[in-house]
């Protein structure tokens, strides 16, 4: 008897505890993910959607209300704006030059690092230092090195009796110089990602190929590259999203960075640079929003293209196997 009277209140207390515990199990997951979703909704998603609304208005910098509803006028203006098409061309050009050379260089570097070299950690750390350097600093340094008149690179070309290149004034050289900046910062980083993937490739494959008489190049071409495809695709996609939004490099490359012109004749003005100029130099927030929304759509298009390329490559791979 004494035992049962003792347990009854204890059991009741336990059920309350159990109920609390069940509530805890049910609610905690939502509490854990809530900070991410709430903050993301407020500072990530909402501004992006609100951009679409702002783009339908005439809206001046400094006022917290639109001046007038203008419908699609900002987009009409965008369609006929030569500067926009110019910036789109520049962005894609810089993106293509930098991403192709970067992947080739990073791959080469990864192959080198994958050999049984001495000071391997030292090499890896040293090649990662550019990643830690600020883009503003990189932009300033490279703009100086690529100076049209007395830049070090043109001086060095002069030692060999070559003519200097108008790195800032001419369109293609300026894209090349900006791509160099991008690659300088990211090649080592991507090489480490390739290297990590290379080290997961089974060694037996190489030994079998060696026995079959495959030389170094053939082993690289028919074993390493196909095995690295997923990682290559990952690197391409991440560099697409970042590369199409390129801003700091072209801005700092300009000898007069404050204008956002991207060169005297806009020869290296990118879309984000134009966005910044229209919004925060010319104070047309509505038009800047239209540019932002257009850039968003362009990125989506590129992502879809990427997706189909990925699917195609992976299905081709499946057929091979």
């Amino acid at each position: 008897m004494a035992a049962t009277t003792m347990t009854t209140p204890a059991r009741q207390r336990l059920t309350v505890k159990q109920r609390l515990s069940r509530l805890d199990v049910k609610l905690s997951p939502y509490l854990f993910i809530a900070p991410f979703f709430i903050i993301f909704a407020l500072v990530g998603l909402f501004p992006l959607l609100y951009t679409a609304w702002v783009s339908l208005h005439r809206w001046s910098f400094g006022s917290d209300k639109p001046e007038a509803y203008v419908g699609l006028q900002n987009y009409q203006r965008l369609w006929h704006d030569e500067l926009f098409w110019n910036s789109l061309k520049n962005t894609v050009s810089i993106f293509l030059i930098s991403s192709t050379t970067q992947i080739v260089l990073a791959m080469l570097l990864a192959v080198l690092l994958n050999e049984q070299i001495r000071f391997r950690t030292g090499f890896r750390i040293a090649l990662l230092l550019p990643y830690a350097t600020s883009l503003v600093a990189v932009g300033i340094i490279f703009s100086n090195l690529f100076g049209d008149q007395f830049g070090l690179i043109n001086n060095v070309l002069g030692w060999f009796g070559l003519n200097g290149i108008a790195w800032h004034t001419d369109r293609f050289p300026s894209h090349l110089a900006i791509s160099t900046m991008v690659n300088w910062r990211w090649t080592g980083y991507n090489a480490l990602i390739f290297l990590a993937a290379m080290q997961t490739i089974p060694k037996d494959l190489y030994e079998a190929a060696r026995i079959d008489g495959a030389n170094t190049w053939e082993r690289f071409r028919y074993i390493t590259v196909p095995m690295l495809r997923p990682v290559i695709i990952f690197v391409v996609i991440t560099s697409t999203i970042g590369g199409l939004q390129i801003f700091t490099e072209p801005r700092m490359f300009d000898p007069i960075p404050g204008t956002g012109n991207g060169g005297a004749s806009h020869q290296f003005q990118t879309i984000t640079l134009l966005l910044w100029q229209e919004g925060f130099r010319n104070f047309h927030l509505g038009y800047a929003s239209a540019i932002a929304w257009a850039l968003f759509l362009i990125i989506v298009v590129f992502a879809i293209v990427n997706f189909f390329v990925v699917r195609r490559i992976s299905s081709a791979e499946a057929e091979e196997q």
Partner: protein, 303 residues
């Protein structure tokens, strides 16, 4: 560049087979890969030189006179003007303010990203709840969304609430990242055994204590890598701080941009500024380099 001799590439495969017997165990231990040649070290040295040179150049110019940047035969070694140039940098812009602002902003962003990513990553990796899969698909989808493009309305909002020019305008929009959640979830899925969570529950831990005593200790390595990358990103962020802050209250990036404007540029001054701005992270990378390299490489394999 003498290492680019045409004979070296052929020498590699030819000399490898006879040496095979002894190096094999060593090769197994240290990963596959063929034996390095002079060409390997030559190319690596070229990459190294390319990586280091721009950093060296800023120190070289920053420690000399302005004209050094345009010398047709520049000196090879740094001069002695670095500290006098540095004091001019401190006169011209509010560099101490910028440095402390950058530290506070990047530090706060890092803490918040790591904490919230670990919380959400733990929930997605280990807890069951209604809507989990749908919500996680949402996180994955937002990975590709360039939130940076929301700067115009973000600015309008910040202006409305009087945040423009204050540090919280830089901190708050960067407090969470989808990438961080993805990263922590991927790691925690295999790093925390379910049995451990159940055991902690049986011992009477509530979920917060399970998170704190089971998840957090296991999450440390991945959280450290996430922290380093978030810090680097926040420290180097430029577009948004340029819009949201002003010269009176800048971050380091905004401050060196300020030195760089103007028509007659003093490059020794500017390069001293960039050196001061890059030095903290470079030093950090040299000290933590081993762990950072390991972190990138682990992440690459898992992602």
């Amino acid at each position: 560049m003498t290492t680019l001799d045409a004979t070296t590439p052929e020498a590699a495969p030819a000399s490898a087979p006879p040496r095979m017997p002894r190096p094999v165990p060593r090769a197994r231990r240290r990963g596959r890969g063929w034996r390095p040649t002079v060409l390997t070290y030559g190319l690596l040295a070229a990459f190294l030189l390319g990586s280091a040179f721009p950093l060296y150049w800023q120190i070289l110019v920053g420690s000399r006179e302005s004209t050094t940047a345009f010398d047709s035969t520049p000196p090879l070694l740094p001069g002695g003007n670095f500290f006098s140039n540095a004091s001019r940098v401190f006169d011209q812009v509010r560099f101490w303010k910028a440095l402390s602002n950058s530290l506070i902003a990047a530090g706060a962003i890092t803490l918040s990203v790591v904490l919230f990513s670990t919380l959400a990553g733990f929930a997605f990796a280990k807890l069951r709840f209604r809507g989990r899969n749908a919500l996680y698909v949402f996180v994955i989808a937002t990975l590709a969304v360039p939130t940076q493009l929301g700067i115009v309305p973000l600015y309008i909002l910040m202006a409305k609430y009087g945040w423009v020019g204050h540090l919280q305008a830089v901190i708050v929009p960067n407090m969470v990242t989808a990438l961080g959640v993805f990263w922590m979830r991927q790691y925690l899925v295999q790093a925390v055994p379910n049995e451990l969570i159940e055991a902690a529950r049986v011992d009477g831990c509530n979920m917060i204590r399970v998170f704190w005593h089971v998840c957090v200790p296991a999450a440390r390595p991945a959280a450290a890598v996430l922290g380093v990358f978030t810090f680097v990103m926040a420290w180097n962020d430029f577009l948004w701080p340029l819009i949201a802050l002003n010269p009176e209250n800048p971050t380091v990036q905004v401050a060196i941009d300020q030195i760089n404007t103007g028509f007659s540029k003093d490059f020794s001054l500017i390069m001293t500024g960039t050196t001061l701005a890059t030095l903290p992270l470079i030093i950090g990378f040299i000290f933590l380099g081993r762990q950072i390299v390991a972190g990138i490489m682990q992440g690459a394999v898992k992602g």
